[in-house]
Structure formats: C-alpha cells, structure tokens
C-alpha cells in the first residue's frame, strides 16, 4: 500500500527515527487508517530499524491501537463498574440494534465498530462512551439514538 508507506514516512519525519517515536506513530496511523495494518507495521519496522515482531508486540499492548481493521468511527463503551451500574447494558443493546452489529464487530460499510473499554474517567457522568476521541456522557438510549443519527449522516 503506497499510501501507508507515505504516511509512515511522513510520521517518521515528524517524530524521528528513534524507538520513542513508536507510540505516537502508531496513534497517528490508527487515527488516519482506523487500524494499524501489517503493512504499516512492516513500514514502521523498516523506518525505525527494529523487527516487525517488536512493533507488533508494542502495538498489541495498547487497547487503543487496533491491529485488525475497524470502522471509521470506533465506539468504545465504558464497561467499568459505575457505568455498568448505570445501565451500560441498555446502551449496548441500543447501539447493537441501531448498528445491527454485536459488540466487537464492525458494520459492513466499515463505518462503525462497537467495542468495550475500561474506565474512561467519567464515572460521575456515566454511562460514558468514546467515538474516536470524542467523549459522550450521561448516556440514555434516547441520547445514543440522537448521537448515532448524527454520525450516520457524517462522512
């Protein structure tokens, strides 16, 4: 994929060729391509002069770096205790119905992925979820429907 190659080269120019650049590079690839492909990891390995296994080991350590393809909008619903207590399962059910996918899956049009995540730090305003980097709190099924409607209309 020439696009991935160019992207990695650009990121390496920005962050530098040392090992410390690894996580920022992975994060930026995740943001632009919605996951870090094996091609991208090979390219990072080349640019940073480390092994591909090494890149894979770092990438898989972090929950927010995906090594399998994800949708353009990754929804991460907090499943930790306080959100759990405040009807997390109702939120999940609503999302599953709206998107016609189960947790862990990606819609056929590659627009949405639905995942769990651990404590997002919004326990006083739970249930909470992230869509990419944006936070949504005080969720109710109604609010989730509104939010998803907006995202469905986004490109």
């Amino acid at each position: 994929m020439p696009h991935t190659k160019e992207l990695v080269e650009k990121l390496v120019d920005t962050y530098g060729r040392s090992r410390e650049s690894m996580l920022p590079i992975l994060q930026d690839i995740q943001r632009t391509e919605h996951y870090v492909s094996d091609d991208a990891m090979v390219e990072i390995a080349k640019q940073l002069d480390i092994s591909t296994a090494d890149v894979y080991g770092k990438a898989t350590f972090y929950s927010f770096i995906d090594t399998v393809p994800r949708g353009k909008y990754v929804i991460r619903v907090c499943k930790t205790i306080v959100c759990e207590m405040h009807n997390k399962s109702g939120i999940i059910e609503t999302l599953e119905n709206l998107l016609k996918i189960k947790i862990g899956e990606t819609t056929l049009n590659r627009k949405f992925s639905l995942l769990y995540t651990n404590c997002l730090g919004w326990c006083h305003m739970g249930p909470a979820m992230l869509i990419n980097d944006e936070v949504f709190t005080d969720l109710t099924p109604e609010r989730v429907r509104e939010i998803i409607a907006i995202y469905k209309n986004k490109n």
Binding site: S18, R19, E20, S21, M22, L23, P24, L26, Q27, G57, K58, F61, Y62, S63, F64, I65, K79, T80, I81, V82, E84, M85, T117, N118, C119, L120, G121, W122, C123, H124, M125, G126, L130, D133, E134, V135
Partner: protein
C-alpha cells in the same frame, strides 16, 4: 457540610492573578530550602501510593547528571477516579508551576505530561498552556521544556516505571525496582514521576509554606485531597476535601440514604461495609483509632440494590485485562480469582474455596512485581470478607 468535611478549595481554587508568581518565587530560593519545606509539609504522593514527595525530589536532586526528567503522571485510570482531568482542565498552570519548580530543584531540562489516551481532547488546550509556560520559563531563566506524551489505553502505564517504558517506546510493563526512577528513570536518567495533584500540592506548599499546609488534614496525612465521588450518590462529582474525614460523615453527605458500602481508592482500593463506616477515616497512616485508608481519591458508593458479587466480578475483569501480564501472580492470579468466584457462585466449588482464593490474594500481595498485582488483594479480600454471603448465594 459538617466540620470534618471542610471544602478547602486548595487544589482547584483560583489562580494567583499574576501568572507563574509562585514559580518566580521559587526561582529565587535555594533548592535545599524548597526540598526541606516539602519534607516538612509531609506531602505524600496523591496517586495512591503515598511516598513522601520531598524525599523523591531530594533523591533525584542528589544524583549528578546532565540529563534529568520531570514527569507529570496524568494516566489516571483507576476506576472511579477523574480528578486529574478536572485539574488539567481547570488549573493547568498550577500543574506546570509544580513541574517547573521540580525541574528547578532537581535540575531537569525536560518534562513530560503522560496523558491517558482517553483524555486526548485535552491536548490542544494543554499545548496552549505549555506554550505560554515556556515563555515564562524563558523569562525566569528556567531552561525547561514540557511535552505531552499520549497514552493509548493501558491502565498499568500509571505505574511509574511502566510509564517510563511506554515513553521509551517499549511495552508499558513495570520494571524491577531498584533501581528507582529517581536514580535511573527515563532513558536511565534521574527522573521524578509525580501525579498531577501532587505537583499542584507541591506548588501549594511553596505558596503557603509547610506550616500552613500542615494545618490541613490529620497527622501523617497533611493537606487536602481531591475526591472523585461516584456511584449511588445524588452528588457525584469532584470535591476538594481535607484529609482525615470519617467515612460516616462522608456517607451522610454524599450517600443516597441507603449506602451499603463505599469503595475507597477504586478497584485497587478497599471496600468498606456500612458497619465499618464510623471507624474508618480517609488518609494515609493516620494516628487515629480504627481503619485508615489511603486513596487516590476515588470514592464509589453502592446502595443496597447492588450485588457485591457483581461489583467484584467487574473489578476482576478489569484487572485480568489491564494486568501487563508479565508476572505470574498478577497474570494468572487475576484469572483464577475471577474463575474462582464464578465457580463458587455456580456451586462448582464449595464456599470454602473462597478461603483458598483469599490465600491466593495474600500471595499476590507479597509476590507481584508492581502495585497493580499487589493491590488486587485489597478489593478482593475486603469484599469477600464483608459480603461473603453475597458471594455464595
């Protein structure tokens, strides 16, 4: 509020009208005086572990090195904790002042704010603050630059050596200690890693002096503390409270009238049942009677509609996923605890199996490599011991 639940607004209180005045003041003082003030103030780390901040700075200052680092630990991931985000949103200048003072004292030229990926939305506004901070550093003759390093969803990176590995581009796994970061930290150089709130408190010590600071709180637990209150409470939110408050008063203030238990310190903290509220005070090792609990400030309230089995199961799922996985007791122990309570609940194992699991948490507590694995025992034993019947039936 009752007397013991004084809101003090030390941390989140208004800025001094003159920007970076405290830092400017600190620049004029000898390093050893600042360190002595911090030690005298009794300020302890606000991340939960409670190490004396003054000593940490002293150790890092003592090691001769051209290259040193100050790191602000904003990888706030403990369930029920959200105060660091509030600090970074509302009073980022106080945090940067704290970092600046620390840099001056230990001789660091470079600092990082390790910000959890979940708080990425803060980056832009923080960078503006950092830019402004740099201009003040230059004015004050402080050769110091701060950069944000963004995490990517790994609770264990809040452990200071895991955090260092993460910045270095390694897996965020805790290191063996010694060496401690103050001797060999980031890239092997002396490093102070302080929690967001600790840095603000350190700045407050510089501002009001150790004597004033010590007047807040109780013996061994000085100053105030931000509490993140959540769960079954009509008043969820963040509160700047003095140390040494009793849980009974706390519940009176924040409970919904039906509080059955309070989880103090998040999933890695302790669960206190109603019958122990009156004998429990919140602080590091207070010289008062009863149980005294350290905390990073997470206070989760549960009312009688909640199953404590379910609560514990949720914590254990959190730990078995968030353990880095390198050490035996934590990686396997967390899985066994979760599997174990499930087996007891389903009758696959007898109720006495809970005692075996309690023994396992003892092993984890004394053999795990870092605080994560060591502290799983806290919530497990406090829930299983206090709510045993809920585990079985």
């Amino acid at each position: 509020m009752s007397d013991r639940l004084k809101r003090v607004d030390v941390i989140l209180g208004n800025y001094h009208p003159e920007k970076y005045k405290i830092l400017a003041g600190a620049m004029e003082r000898p390093n050893k005086d600042i360190i002595q003030d911090l030690i005298d103030s009794g300020l302890k780390g606000r991340g939960g572990a409670g190490f004396l901040t003054g000593l940490k700075w002293k150790f890092a200052a003592q090691v001769p090195s051209e290259e040193k680092y100050v790191i602000c630990n904003a990888d706030e991931g403990e369930p029920g904790t959200f105060k660091d985000r509030e600090i970074l949103t509302k009073v980022p200048r106080k945090v940067l002042s704290g970092m600046g003072i620390c840099a001056k004292v230990i001789g660091a030229k470079k600092g990082y704010i390790y910000l959890r990926g979940e708080y990425k939305f803060l980056v832009a506004q923080l960078n503006d603050q950092i830019d402004e901070f740099h201009t003040y550093c230059d004015k004050l003759g402080l050769d110091f630059r701060v950069e944000i390093f963004l995490g990517s969803g790994a609770y264990v990176c809040g452990e200071e050596t895991a955090l260092l590995n993460s910045i270095e581009g390694k897996r965020g796994e805790p290191r063996n200690k010694p060496p401690f970061p103050t001797n060999e930290g980031l890239f092997g150089k002396p490093t102070v890693v302080n929690n967001v709130e600790t840095l603000v408190s350190a700045m407050m010590v510089c501002k009001i002096g150790p004597d004033q600071f010590k007047k807040l709180g109780i013996q061994d637990s000085h100053g105030s503390k931000l509490f993140s209150v959540s769960g079954d409470t009509p008043r969820a939110g963040i509160y700047d409270l003095e140390f040494g408050l009793s849980l009974e008063e706390f519940v009176k203030e924040f409970g919904d009238g039906d509080t059955k238990a309070v989880q103090v310190g998040g999933a890695s903290g302790f669960c206190v049942p109603r019958k122990k509220f009156s004998q429990t005070t919140i602080g590091y090792k207070a010289g008062l009677d009863g149980d005294n609990l350290p905390t990073g400030g997470s206070m989760m309230l549960f009312n009688s509609s909640r199953s404590m089995y379910h609560v514990l199961e949720n914590y254990l799922e959190f730990f078995e996923e968030e353990s880095c996985g390198q050490c035996t007791p934590c990686r396997i122990g967390c899985q066994q605890l979760k599997k174990g309570i499930d087996a007891v609940k389903r009758g696959i194992r007898p109720p006495e199996y809970l005692d075996q699991l309690l023994k396992l948490t003892e092993t984890m507590k004394i053999t795990a490599k870092c605080g994560l694995g060591q502290s799983v025992a806290n919530s497990f034993s406090s829930i299983v011991e206090n709510f045993r019947e809920e585990m079985i039936y």
